[in-house]
């Protein structure tokens, strides 16, 4: 890869004219920097994901935010298999998880948003962007995932230079669900499988740095599959992400679960896909309450037992995302 990469990109040069201009700079001491902020016709850009679901205390929910109806009943049928629950963590390490009912009905702080820019001038559009950066106290690289759940992170959504000319589409804050496995069971996780039903969203599995080799590859012997029905910006055949694992160092070090389980923790992220982003661009006033999904999470343990949990995700009209585990079930012992 190294050699081919270098050979391929070494074949791309800047123009002679550009080099000449650079050389001539020594003769133009007072030449002002050519501003890099030429505004071309409006387009919303950014690579990267992501709508991630972040837990938050109910008291932190913005005014006017209504919990959407999530009517599914929780249930527990597993008796012998190690059970697990899904916890949407609050950013202050507290959670609204009801262990008695295995239920969370937590308004999440993660928010998807769109600003209609049809008819706006470039100058007006830039002002909107700057205002969003200011409003959300954007970090340097607005890197959306995995590293700064405790910060205000704003992500402009797009897919690899696709131009969205009707709307600025963004995501505020990120986060994920934790899989809360019993202390002993967490040590025997063999495989995690996640799938979702919304074709406009997809899922990713997160884990801690301890699962990574120094070169960024995943250590062997851990199998984590996110089988997504969602369309992604990755052209996998059959819309399947065969192997999606992200670093989970963003888990807070002082979180109860990490104290409990040491370095063995797993999380699930839910990601808005291109299909939805395209729909929002077509209709910047898109009704976000149309968005919903159902995640089925299976954990297989070394003894062959499999536990399953289902969580429903919904979004209100304002774009705030909510989640609620629907069912928790012991499935089978394959042995």
């Amino acid at each position: 890869m190294n050699k081919k990469y270098k050979q391929t990109f070494s074949a791309i040069y800047p123009s002679d004219k550009a080099i000449e201009r650079v050389m001539e700079m020594t003769k133009e001491k007072d030449k002002k920097s050519k501003k890099a902020n030429r505004i071309s016709t409006m387009a919303v850009a950014i690579a990267c994901l992501a709508v991630f679901v972040t837990g938050v205390l109910a008291g932190n929910v913005p005014k006017g935010n209504q919990t959407p109806a999530l009517t599914s009943e929780s249930s527990i049928s597993g008796k012998t298999a190690p059970g697990f629950a899904i916890i949407a963590y609050a950013d202050d390490t507290k959670t609204k998880f009801d262990k008695k009912n295995y239920e969370i009905k937590t308004p999440l702080k993660s928010k998807i948003g769109a600003v209609d820019i049809r008819g706006k001038s470039n100058k007006e559009t830039d002002a909107i962007v700057k205002e969003l950066y200011r409003k959300y106290n954007l970090t340097d690289w607005d890197f959306p995932c995995y590293e700064s759940e405790d910060k205000n992170v704003l992500t402009f959504l797009d897919t690899n230079n696709t131009i969205y000319d009707n709307a600025i589409i963004y995501q505020y804050r990120n986060g994920f669900f934790d899989l809360d496995l019993p202390e002993e069971a967490v040590k025997t996780v063999k495989e995690i499988r996640v799938k979702n039903t919304n074709r406009d969203a997809y899922v990713l599995i997160t884990t801690l740095d301890a699962y990574y080799n120094p070169d960024g590859t995943l250590k062997e012997n851990y199998k984590m599959y996110a089988k997504s029905t969602g369309r992604t910006n990755i052209d996998f055949e059959n819309d399947e992400i065969p192997y999606a694992v992200l670093s989970g160092e963003s888990y807070k070090k002082d979180r109860a679960l990490e104290k409990k389980h040491g370095k063995r923790m797993f999380g699930i992220s839910w990601v808005i896909g291109n299909g939805l982003i395209e729909k929002i661009n077509q209709d910047p006033n898109y009704d976000f309450s149309q968005i919903s999904d159902k995640l089925t999470i299976e954990v297989e343990f070394e003894d062959g037992n499999v536990s399953q949990s289902v969580v429903k995700i919904a979004t209100d009209k304002e774009g705030y995302i909510f989640a609620k585990p629907e069912a928790f079930e012991y499935i089978a012992n394959k042995n």
């Binding site: 890869m1 081919k4 990469y5 270098k6 050979q7 391929t8 990109f9 070494s10 074949a11 791309i12 040069y13 800047p14 550009a18 080099i19 650079v22 050389m23 700079m25 020594t26 001491k29 030449k31 920097s33 890099a36 902020n37 030429r38 505004i39 071309s40 016709t41 409006m42 387009a43 850009a45 950014i46 690579a47 990267c48 994901l49 470039n122 830039d126 950066y133 340097d140 690289w141 890197f143 995995y146 590293e147 690899n160 230079n161 131009i163 740095d209 990574y212 070169d215 960024g216 590859t217 995943l218 910006n233 990755i234 052209d235 996998f236 065969p242 694992v245 992200l246 670093s247 160092e249």
Partner: protein
């Protein structure tokens, strides 16, 4: 820094900086703008450098920062990629499949991949220069490899 030393620095780094910027912008003209801004800053700070290594390292950092500022301040129309690589296609070593696969990555992923595979930078150095955590760099590289693998096949990535 004398003028001839500056010229040497330009010769030594122009393509390198252009490619870093290109990995992010995927636009020849934008990458050239960023490269020019980077060298302009070098000329303005020419009194501050001790040696070539220092200059080259400084240029890389400034170039990455320029990319960041460039992105932050402007929304841009993308240009057809064919335009970006039309001169490269005649090069026998140019691999269009690889180029297209890398182009399909997100811009930050492309930059991390470029710094890792072209500049041979360590994850730690990439982390420092992009101002993101090492774990994030690992994540980006891991995801990028998975994406590239899905497009190009295992052999391509691991050979």
């Amino acid at each position: 820094m004398l003028e001839n030393e500056y010229i040497e620095a330009v010769k030594r780094n122009s393509q390198r900086l252009f490619l870093i910027a290109f990995s992010y912008t995927q636009s020849r003209s934008d990458a050239e703008d960023i490269m020019q801004n980077t060298f302009l800053k070098l000329w303005k700070h020419r009194e501050e450098f001790a040696d070539k290594k220092h200059i080259d390292k400084w240029l890389t950092r400034v170039c990455v920062n320029e990319c960041k500022d460039f992105h932050r301040l402007a929304f841009r129309k993308s240009v057809p990629l064919e335009e970006a690589c039309e001169t490269a296609e005649s090069d026998k070593h140019f691999d269009m499949d690889l180029f297209n696969a890398v182009s399909s990555l997100g811009k930050k992923e492309r930059m991390a991949v470029h710094l890792f595979y072209y500049e041979d930078m360590s994850i730690k150095d990439i982390s420092q220069i992009m101002k993101i955590k090492e774990s994030s760099v690992k994540s980006m590289l891991h995801r990028s490899r998975e994406k590239l693998k899905s497009k190009l096949g295992d052999e391509y990535i691991y050979e």
